[in-house]
């Protein structure tokens, strides 16, 4: 007779139960795989470098494989499940019609080495997306090779090097505001530049005087996000551009926040020379749990010749691949995250000009409205009007109750919302960076506000329980310190 106490390997709907690993579900000789018998005469090849035994992969049935990953999916929050006001990430609704496009066998099953005349539709996708992107950003041409924002940054910085190199002097420094996203300085270093930080002023914007002081002939350029990571529009942007251009420096636009100004203002008109966009933010392609994204880089006229190649272009006899005259070379093995570009184009064409502008209007409206609703409860460190997102501070809450920004974030999880971005940007104490996006309804925005207010109220009466949040999730506060101290990065790593 079996021991009492058996339960399902993991309990969907019931929660709490850890899901076993595939290794734990594995049994020797069990299998899901199915392949035809080899239909050519098997030959003795005695190849070099062969293995005696295949690697120790798990052996599971297809039925258990399905249950395992389905249960894992049930342990994950997602845009499709609810509101995701994660600042700087633009977690808007990802239209299902774009999923349909990305699953279209006419694109999905294309090998990247297929000649251009047999992939005219794919080249057309890139050309169409490029035209729309350039019009929205005020740029001339764009490359879709960069597979994400950070890759776009590296590409842009390599373009700076090429530009200045062609002018005889490769400069050493790139300026970035102290509120910049971490990928900016990291990309600067990767590109072989020195990152020089420009402090923000009391208004949360670039300090013009500090900028003047930092600009010299050795400055290759300035990287800027506008609206910046505080969700504020850099009011002096035109002057900033002038200062940098005076020394022939280049202005790089980090497009992570492009959602706020779509069709309303264009980086090109602000004086930017290089613009990367995050299609996985502004253009509604899903984040896939961390990727794939797409970070196309668009540039002004005088930088086109340096773009990575090949570029898809329209010729009289159809679409062709072209190599820019002084291209910096490849930044991706093929054409970038092409299917993500296809999704984005589907979105752009569905919305069209008016719809794209509406994205900016309503993302800003939702953020401004939400900020207004919580402004009495949380400090808003800067009084400029926010754009598509805003940064609130839990500093006062912490001083008064000991409840920190992280606790507020975890409490939101209990209330069924995803948490905001916390502790970024670094210039704000106990930062809560909140971006509702334009696809959330007014009811949802008001519910998020009410939740934030309720958490502050709980913090006053029962700080411990807020500090113990979340209470209703499958796990609570995993021990990050332990994970880093004794890294367990795979099954072998024990447990």
């Amino acid at each position: 007779m079996p021991e009492p106490g058996g339960r399902a390997l993991s309990s969907p709907l019931v929660g709490g139960e850890p899901e076993p690993t595939l290794a734990e579900l594995s049994a020797p000789g069990r299998r899901a795989w199915s392949l035809p018998e080899l239909d050519v005469p098997a030959r003795e090849l005695d190849l070099p470098e062969t293995a005696d035994t295949p690697p120790a992969l798990p052996e599971v049935s297809e039925r258990d494989l399905v249950a395992h990953f389905t249960r894992l999916a049930h342990r994950n929050f997602a845009v499709d499940l609810g509101a995701y006001p994660l600042g700087s990430c633009t977690m808007k609704y990802n239209p299902k019609v774009c999923d349909w496009a990305a699953e279209h066998s006419g694109f999905r099953d294309l090998h990247p080495s297929t000649p251009a005349h047999l992939t005219q539709g794919a080249l057309a996708v890139i050309v169409e997306a490029e035209k729309i992107l350039c019009e929205l950003t005020g740029m001339r041409r764009a490359t879709f090779q960069p597979p994400a924002g950070a890759a776009g940054e590296l590409t842009g910085l390599l373009l700076m090097r090429a530009y200045h190199g062609a002018r005889g002097h490769v400069r050493r420094k790139v300026l970035i505001p102290d509120a910049a996203h971490g990928t900016n300085p990291a990309s600067v270093t990767l590109a072989g530049y020195e990152a020089v930080q420009i402090p923000s002023n009391a208004k949360g914007m670039v300090d013009i005087e500090a900028l003047r002081g930092a600009v010299d002939e050795d400055v290759a350029g300035l990287m800027l996000t506008n609206p910046n990571t505080l969700g504020l529009f850099e009011e002096d942007i035109v002057e900033i551009a002038a200062i940098v251009h005076e020394v022939d420096g280049l202005l790089y636009y980090d497009g992570a926040n492009l959602n706020a100004i779509l069709g309303v203002a264009r980086p090109g008109d602000m004086g930017f020379d290089i613009v990367h966009s995050n299609l996985h933010k502004t253009f509604a392609t899903p984040h896939g749990g961390g990727g794939p994204g797409s970070g196309p880089v668009a540039v002004v006229d005088r930088l086109v010749e340096y773009l990575p190649g090949p570029l898809a272009s329209k010729a009289d006899d159809g679409y062709v691949w072209e190599q820019p005259a002084s291209s910096i070379g490849r930044v991706h093995g093929n054409h970038g995250n092409f299917l993500v570009v296809l999704r984005a184009l589907t979105y752009m064409r569905a919305l069209g000009g008016p719809g794209l502008r509406r994205v900016a209007e309503r993302s800003v409206l939702n953020a401004r409205y939400l900020e207004h609703l919580v402004a009495d409860t949380y400090d808003i460190p800067y009084d400029a009007p926010c754009m598509h997102e805003f940064v609130a501070s839990a500093g006062r809450l912490k001083r008064e109750t000991g409840v920190r920004a992280m606790d507020v974030a975890k409490s939101l999880l209990d209330l069924g919302f995803h948490a905001p971005t916390v502790y970024f940007p670094l210039v704000v104490d106990e930062a809560l960076m909140i971006e509702p996006t334009e696809t959330e309804s007014v009811e949802t925005v008001e519910a998020i506000a009410a939740a934030l207010v309720a958490i502050a109220a709980d913090a006053a009466t029962d700080p411990e329980s807020v500090q113990d949040a979340p209470h209703a999730t499958p796990v609570s506060r995993p021990d990050d310190a332990l994970a880093a101290r004794r890294p367990v990065l795979n099954w072998e790593g024990g447990e």
Partner: protein, 442 residues
């Protein structure tokens, strides 16, 4: 289409609360000179039916149904429906990077299992949660090696995937690294003397499909005090020695064959694994196992101090968004295959490549470009221009392969041909017959 839920009444109500009347009031504080005044030159909105018709029309201009014999990193393997069904679960597709681990255990555990299986097939204990693709992983490997060895020279095999080489060159130019190319002799790389390298980078099998000598490469690297970096074919790791067991310090790969459609080359994924010694230098995210407050097993992103958001300009890499969903696809596929399935895919792909090679050799004017042990891909020399052959073969329903001549002038008429377990004998024979015809007609 319009995905914003706001009705005009709601917009009016919200604006009123903000003391405004027009949506444009929201942007009143922007400098006038940067505000768009006239209409931009953008297409009109399309309804769902119209946008779908447009995508259909563009798709119709692609020859996506050619029977594929092209490879070079992207291969047409059997992709089981179950792999797509699980990978495309919306909870995975529409979630962000799992920073809030309490509501991201699904993605975190999936990545932990991906890392575990990548370690299993590469024989290297530390695998990250994916990079962009094979070639950019090569860049990261070089960057890691340069930082770890403080050297600025890199040795690469001439038979390294040309796209990987190109990405490394782009990076090297900016960073003033010296890339020393080592020649191919009889299909394999001959490692000669040169300045001590940060790393030596080679394909296993190399771009010409030939299986390199691991010991020679690893010895060359280690004797010179550099890291041995192998660019491997994941679908062959069921039958070939693992780079880890061969002594490599870093293995990377174009991960597309693991659970991902060819996708015109993207999104795919970069597989990246290294030794315990280099753990704290590895680029990208790592999912680690730990326990939660109640002692329950839990997963979290770990060793974060390598990463850009914490370490900023001192980070080991600038990568943030990676290819998580593609990595989940790879994990599901590897688990579906298991040890025997992966070995069988490799075995059949190799057998079919050799069957095809034998068939092609019998065609007048065609011969193998190398006389060395190849695995599932091989170069043939054709009596006529490979580009024209590819076009003519396409008319017969085949994607014949990848012309080599532009990258390897030393192989005039060279065409790189690949096979997978998916190609039936009938397709292999039809391919050979068609090629014979094409050459005869020329």
């Amino acid at each position: 289409m319009d995905f914003t839920p706001h009705t005009d009444a709601e917009v009016a109500r919200m604006l009123e609360r903000l003391g405004m009347t027009e949506p444009s009031d929201l942007f009143a504080h922007l400098p006038a000179e940067v505000r768009v005044t006239g209409a931009l030159d953008l297409p009109a909105p399309l309804s769902e039916l119209e946008v779908m018709a447009h995508v259909d029309a563009l798709a119709a201009l692609n020859a996506a149904d050619l029977v594929c014999f092209a490879g070079g990193g992207i291969y047409d393997h059997h992709l089981p429906p179950v792999v797509r069904a699980l990978t495309l679960r919306p909870e995975f597709v529409t979630s962000y990077t799992p920073y809030q681990s309490e509501v991201a255990q699904g993605v975190l555990q999936a990545l932990f299992e991906y890392q575990s299986m990548i370690s299993a097939i590469t024989g290297l204990p530390v695998a990250n949660a994916s990079l962009y693709d094979g070639p950019t992983s090569g860049l990261e490997a070089v960057n890691l090696a340069v930082a770890a060895t403080r050297r600025t020279t890199v040795w690469v095999s001439r038979a390294l995937n040309p796209h990987t080489r190109a990405v490394i060159d782009t990076f090297a130019a900016a960073r003033d690294l010296t890339v020393v190319e080592h020649p191919v002799v009889g299909g394999r790389t001959a490692w000669t003397e040169a300045d001590p390298p940060a790393a030596i980078v080679f394909g296993q099998p190399n771009f010409l499909g030939v299986i390199e000598d691991y010991d020679a490469a690893v010895a060359a690297a280690h004797e010179a005090g550099g890291l041995a970096v192998a660019d491997v074919d994941p679908m062959l790791l069921g039958i070939l020695r693992s780079p880890g067991s061969a002594g490599c310090d870093i293995a990377f790969a174009e991960g597309q064959p693991l659970g991902n459609p060819m996708s015109f080359g993207g999104p795919v994924l970069g597989v990246f694994a290294t030794t315990a010694a280099l753990m704290r230098r590895i680029p990208g995210r790592l999912s680690g196992a730990t326990v939660d407050r109640e002692g329950r097993r839990a997963y979290t992103l770990t060793l974060r101090t390598r990463e850009q958001d914490i370490r900023r300009e001192k980070a080991s890499s600038n990568i943030c968004t990676n290819q998580t969903l593609n990595a989940i696809g790879a994990a599901v596929h590897l688990a579906w295959l298991g040890p025997d399935g992966l070995a069988e895919v490799g075995r059949q792909s190799v057998q079919k490549a050799h069957y095809l090679a034998k068939r092609l050799e019998q065609i007048a004017g065609v011969r193998l470009a190398v006389d060395a042990a190849f695995a599932r891909e091989f170069p043939v020399l054709l009596p006529i221009d490979p580009g024209e052959v590819v076009d003519a073969m396409a008319e017969r329903g085949f994607l014949a392969g990848i012309p080599l001549s532009d990258r390897y002038p030393e192989l005039p008429g060279g065409l790189l041909v690949a096979a997978t377990e998916k190609r039936t004998r009938a397709e292999l024979d039809a391919y050979a017959d068609a090629l014979e015809e094409v050459i005869a007609d020329a």
